[in-house]
């Protein structure tokens, strides 16, 4: 028996035919499907009412309306990929928005400092979630459901029946929130920039890849010696910070802050991630998909009235979309699994 390993090595897998390979790869991506659905929706709705896209407002709303949700969906996707969930982002958004409003009202702090404080406050609220999940070992669903009420409660206690109005907000921030640059709203630019950073982080850095690893198999992550607690903390802190930023974006866009700000938006963020192909049990999906999911959900909400669908059905359509996305996911996962098993049986 030979003990050397100099046996002829099997040929390294050939790079696929470039163009054709790229195309099939692209067609197989979940993101492509969402993008196609989104474009189809735009085309159909615009055909019914050209103003949906070809008007100043229509064009602006296309990227402005989803901007805040995109922010939250990015953070949500990161958390879900680590096999957790963050239901507290709506309350975090509300609390940081109110905090920012109070700071404008009660202190003369410069806008940029208030922004940083709001983001930091969001990160701290996220860290609390993360610490409870990582160290107390209580499922994230329970923890963040709890903090959803706690954070909202703090805000209610603090704000009472107070309401912060546009007149209390520095005009510069309001101008920024409604302004645009190169025909694209400023808030949309911010969401694009965040998305670009998040895509890079999740695709090309150790932190991002370890998020995927931890969500894919937590036991294997332990065996690999990954610092899973730290990573979970980071994911929740990022989600919290993004919710804090979303709070500021909310202030800059709408100006008024009442105690109900952000209520229910956490479910939209989870919905966007799921529709965008982020597996609810972690380990797969992308932040780009989640952002596209956010675009699809918000645009459907705007399109359905244009298409003459009664109010009553609009919620149901969104629900059907979420369920459909999950069913589709299970189906594809199952088929992939069976295919891989069958390949193995043959070899």
């Amino acid at each position: 028996m030979t003990t050397t390993l100099d046996a002829p090595a099997p040929a390294a897998p050939q790079p696929r035919h470039r163009a054709a390979g790229r195309l099939t790869w692209l067609l197989k991506q979940r993101e492509t499907g969402i993008a196609v659905a989104f474009i189809a929706l735009l085309v159909v709705t615009t055909a019914v009412n050209p103003n949906f896209l070809f008007s100043t407002d229509g064009w602006r709303d296309l990227t402005l309306t989803p901007a805040i949700l995109v922010c939250l969906a990015i953070g949500q996707a990161m958390v879900i990929i680590t096999r957790n969930v963050d239901l507290s982002v709506g309350s975090t958004l509300g609390l940081t928005a109110y905090l920012a409003g109070r700071l404008f009202l009660d202190t003369g702090l410069p806008v940029i400092l208030v922004v940083l404080i709001a983001v930091a406050a969001g990160a701290v609220l996220g860290l609390i979630n993360g610490a409870l999940v990582a160290f107390a070992k209580v499922p994230a669903l329970v923890i963040t459901l709890g903090t959803l009420y706690v954070y909202r409660g703090i805000m209610l206690e603090w704000a009472g029946s107070d309401r912060i109005n546009a007149s209390d907000i520095p005009p510069g921030l309001l101008d920024f929130g409604t302004g645009s640059f190169l025909f694209i709203p400023n808030l949309a630019w911010i969401s694009f920039a965040l998305l670009a950073v998040a895509i890079y982080l999740m695709r090309s850095t150790r932190v991002g890849r370890e998020f995927y690893a931890i969500g894919s198999d937590p036991d294997a992550a332990t065996l690999y010696g990954l610092r899973d607690k730290r990573r979970v903390l980071q994911a929740f802190a990022t989600s919290g910070a993004l919710a804090g930023l979303a709070g500021i974006l909310y202030v800059s866009r709408y100006g008024t802050i009442s105690s109900g700000v952000g209520q229910g938006i956490e479910l939209e963020a989870v919905g966007a991630a799921v529709v965008g192909g982020v597996a609810i049990f972690g380990g797969s999906g992308t932040v780009l998909g989640a952002a596209l999911g956010a675009y699809l959900l918000t645009t459907i909400n705007r399109a359905l009235p244009v298409l003459g669908i009664p109010d009553f059905w609009q919620q149901a359509v969104v629900g059907a979309l979420i369920i459909g996305a999950i069913v589709l996911d299970r189906y594809f996962a199952r088929r992939q699994h069976d295919k891989l098993l069958a390949e193995r049986e043959e070899s």
Binding site: M1, T2, T3, T4, L5, A7, A9, P10, A12, P13, Y200, S204, T205, R206, R209, E210, Y212, A213, G215, S216, D217, D219, A220, A221, T222, L223, Y224, G225, L226, R227, A279, G283, S284, Q336, H337, K339, L340, L341, A342, E343, R344, E345
Partner: protein, 508 residues
């Protein structure tokens, strides 16, 4: 003692889990540039020892030295950093991630800005696979890869780590002949490069063909270390067993009656193929095989927890519907799963509630269950099985492994089953309590219960079973009567590739 320190040395290492002493006194000395066999029965403490070396467990006592230096690893990353790589029998990889990512996870090459250099990773992986002579596509996800391929990924990982100590925990258990040869040649190459290799295996032909030194463990303790040329297979087997099989396994004579459970041609693609077996009154049928052979999957399919594609299950001639455990219980099947903490017990409920759970419908005459009724019904069973606990209100989670198992048994026996399927009846139970569980099973069989027992512990199967059915890679490779079921025969069938069907001696 030689002057040069050993690459890996353990002295009197101990580890307990609650009341269970998994390792009493483990000692191992492995020189650089050698392949060291570590052998012992299941439960001898090898795996615990390996996990201590890997940094997964921390030892309670004893010394752990690497190249003469005392070490104390807090986690697996520390151990890896120090050059210790472990290949487990069932590799744990990230199914969603690519082969390349799995090899480099946690230590990807990055540039100044923290960007992962994917091209460099891929190049190294292609190189590693070429060195190993394996055609695995680096970009595919690891989901769906065979265990052999997954192990090769683990080995590639160890190679890329430049491991100084490589531990292979039963790496060949699930491999075919070619794959074993390939693995052995890889191990030799690593040895020649100065690596200290620890090879754990139940297959003596491999141990004697490959290793330079051999250490025997038994019942959590160290027995002996010898150069492989100085010992014979028989001597090793003697040291391995070290006690009379009959002491631990009080098998009572039972009259085998009419067939109760009959399974014909049970198949689920990828998991098990064409499984046929019969369990008769008063008979204990052992279902043997290596981990991953599909034994638990078969049991779960019979009971209806998992689906199957074709085949038939009957109990006393009546068909047991697929995928309906409730109906299976009504018909007289009971199933004690392998992981009793997860599937068999409600840990934060009292003993009485646990025992009466499956019969609560019958107990609740008025639609309400009173603690009184529960306790009365449970007391009877708890007494018969000698559950050792202060009161029936004691929470199940606080009991020892053996007593938990008795509670699970009591729970199922209260449904008055005709056939009991029990998966790994004594896993994680200390030696003393083990024989109590065995006596219990034997008594039950004597009273006419048919028992299908899955066990990874060969002596348990041989000591308890009237008949042994062996699975290998989801195929039934042998059916042996009690007389024919020698350790060698069972092991041969368990490691057989399914195309080579062994002589099947039909039990009458």
């Amino acid at each position: 003692m030689p002057d040069t320190p050993a690459a890996l040395e353990l002295r009197d290492v101990a580890k307990s889990f609650g009341p269970v002493r998994a390792l009493r006194s483990g000692s191992l000395r492995v020189e650089a540039g050698s392949i060291h066999a570590l052998v012992g029965e299941n439960g001898a403490g090898k795996s615990t020892l390996v996990k201590i070396v890997a940094g997964l467990y921390r030892r309670d006592a004893g010394d752990y030295l690497l190249a003469g230096e005392q070490v104390d690893f807090r986690n697996t990353a520390d151990a890896k950093q120090a050059g210790v790589a472990v290949i487990y029998q069932e590799p744990t990889l990230f199914p969603d991630l690519s082969v390349t990512e799995n090899i480099f996870m946690g230590r990807q090459p990055t540039n100044r800005w923290g960007r992962i250099d994917r091209a460099a990773m891929r190049t190294e992986v292609v190189e590693l696979f070429a060195r190993l002579g394996v055609p695995i596509e680096p970009d595919r996800p690891t989901e769906g890869l065979s265990i052999a391929d997954q192990q090769l990924i683990e080995i590639a990982k160890a190679l890329s780590l430049d491991a100084k100590v490589l531990i292979m925990d039963e790496p060949t258990a699930a491999l075919s002949g070619n794959e074993v040869d390939r693995l052995m040649s890889v191990a030799r190459t690593l040895r020649d490069q100065g690596c200290a290799v620890v090879f754990i295996s139940h297959r003596f032909d491999e141990v004697f063909a490959l290793c330079d030194t051999i250490t025997v463990m038994r019942d959590g303790g160290y027995i002996s270390t010898d150069p492989i040329s100085a010992v014979t297979e028989d001597q090793i087997v003697q040291r391995l067993v070290g006690r009379e099989v009959s002491d631990l396994y009080p098998k009572l004579e039972a009259t085998v009656g009419k067939p109760l459970l009959e399974v014909k041609g049970l198949t689920r693609t990828g998991l098990f193929q064409d499984i046929s077996l019969t369990v008769r009154e008063g008979e204990i049928v052992g279902l043997a095989g290596l981990v991953g052979a599909g034994r638990s999957e078969v049991a779960q399919a019979i009971f209806g927890v998992d689906p199957y594609e074709s085949g038939e299950v009957t109990l006393e001639g009546r068909q047991v519907p697929a995928g309906d455990p409730r109906r299976a219980i009504e018909m007289g099947l009971a199933f004690v799963p392998e992981d009793r903490r997860q599937h068999g017990l409600v840990l934060d409920a009292p003993i009485s509630r646990n025992i009466t759970l499956p019969t609560s419908g019958r107990l609740a005459r008025t639609g309400l269950i009173s603690t009184g009724i529960e306790n009365r019904s449970a007391a009877d069973w708890a007494a018969r099985l000698e559950v050792k606990a202060a009161t029936l209100d004691t929470l199940a989670g606080t009991l020892s492994g053996g007593n938990q198992q008795k509670v699970v048994l009591a729970k199922w026996l209260s449904t008055r089953p005709k056939v009991l399927i029990i998966d790994e009846p004594t896993r994680g139970i200390d030696v003393g309590t083990k024989s109590e569980v065995h006596r219990l099973l034997s008594t039950l069989a004597q009273q006419g219960l048919g028992i299908l027992m899955i066990s990874s512990e060969l002596p348990e199967v041989l000591g308890m079973a009237d008949r042994v059915i062996v699975l290998s890679e989801g195929h039934q490779t042998a059916e042996l009567s009690r007389e024919d079921a020698t350790p060698e025969a069972v092991m041969r069938a368990a490691t057989a590739h399914h195309s080579t069907t062994l002589n099947v001696s039909e039990a009458s």
